[in-house]
């Protein structure tokens, strides 16, 4: 996996853009029934709309931020991750082709191209970011910068 570190100081945005946590993928049982029909009629196309963006979620554990991205079929060389002080950019590409000797009857997965950039709610320690890919899930662990770490404040009575 390619990891690029960038200490660009000019980028200082403190706004928090909520992640599209349930982008695509969320579907109800109705669609299952619809696919049934499609199968009945010789694998014809139905109105089923495939998800175009991977599901990405962000969590704050207190001392670090974690990014979770569903990237099935991606190899580590298909993913490029760039981190800055409070920004993470995910680029990736998966191509899916019709296997040799087969004819496509239904295609929902298709080629996937991601280029998403997120402003994080706090600055991170770019040198200590770690990323792993397992079972088609990318997990990025981003320790917060020292000054962003939660601090216990002693309350004194006057």
């Amino acid at each position: 996996m390619l990891m690029r570190r960038n200490n660009d100081m000019s980028l200082r945005r403190w706004s928090y853009e909520p992640l599209p946590s349930l982008l695509g993928g969320l579907r109800m049982l109705d669609d299952v029934n619809r696919l049934f029909e499609a199968f009945d009629h010789g694998f014809g196309l139905s109105s089923f709309a495939p998800a175009t963006a991977p599901r990405v979620q962000l969590a704050d554990t207190g001392s670090e931020l974690r990014l979770y991205a569903e990237l099935p079929g991606f190899g580590e060389n298909d993913i490029e991750l760039t981190v800055q002080r409070n920004r993470v950019t995910l680029r990736g590409r998966r191509q899916s082709s019709v296997p040799e000797g087969f004819t496509a009857r239904r295609r929902e997965r298709g080629d996937v191209e991601i280029m998403q950039s997120y402003t994080l709610p706090s600055r991170i320690h770019a040198d200590r970011v770690e990323a792993s890919l397992q079972n088609g899930v990318l997990l990025v662990t981003m320790p917060k910068a020292a000054e962003e770490q939660p601090r216990q404040i002693q309350v004194k009575t006057a």
Binding site: M28, V32, F36, L71, R107, E108
Partner: protein, 127 residues
Amino acid sequence: MSEQISITRTQNGQGAIAADVATTEPLFAPNVDIFESEREYLLEVDFPGVTQDALSVRLDGSQLTIDGRRPGIDGFFGASRLSRSFRVPDTIDPDRIEAELAHGILRVRLAKREDAMPRRITVRALD
């Protein structure tokens, strides 16, 4: 990273997992590609985050159901389920279904019955 998955055969809906009624975990319908060759059908399903021990592939009559559960990570990313059902053509051989899971993709191969395969007829020249 590729593992063989056993296929469960049931009848009249028996064995449908109890989680169908019990769980409140979010349910997702994964994207699927369906391919056909002379000899088999191939399903490729996006199944990110599912491990083999949390996966079931079940054939009940002509209904094929794939189910997977994702346990969530570290308590920060919640558990969820992936499920989809298909009506398979009667040309497939129920005893020759294979499934494997690798890199978050589930591949199910359904072989066609011998009598459903195209047969090549030799043309003899009579002159």
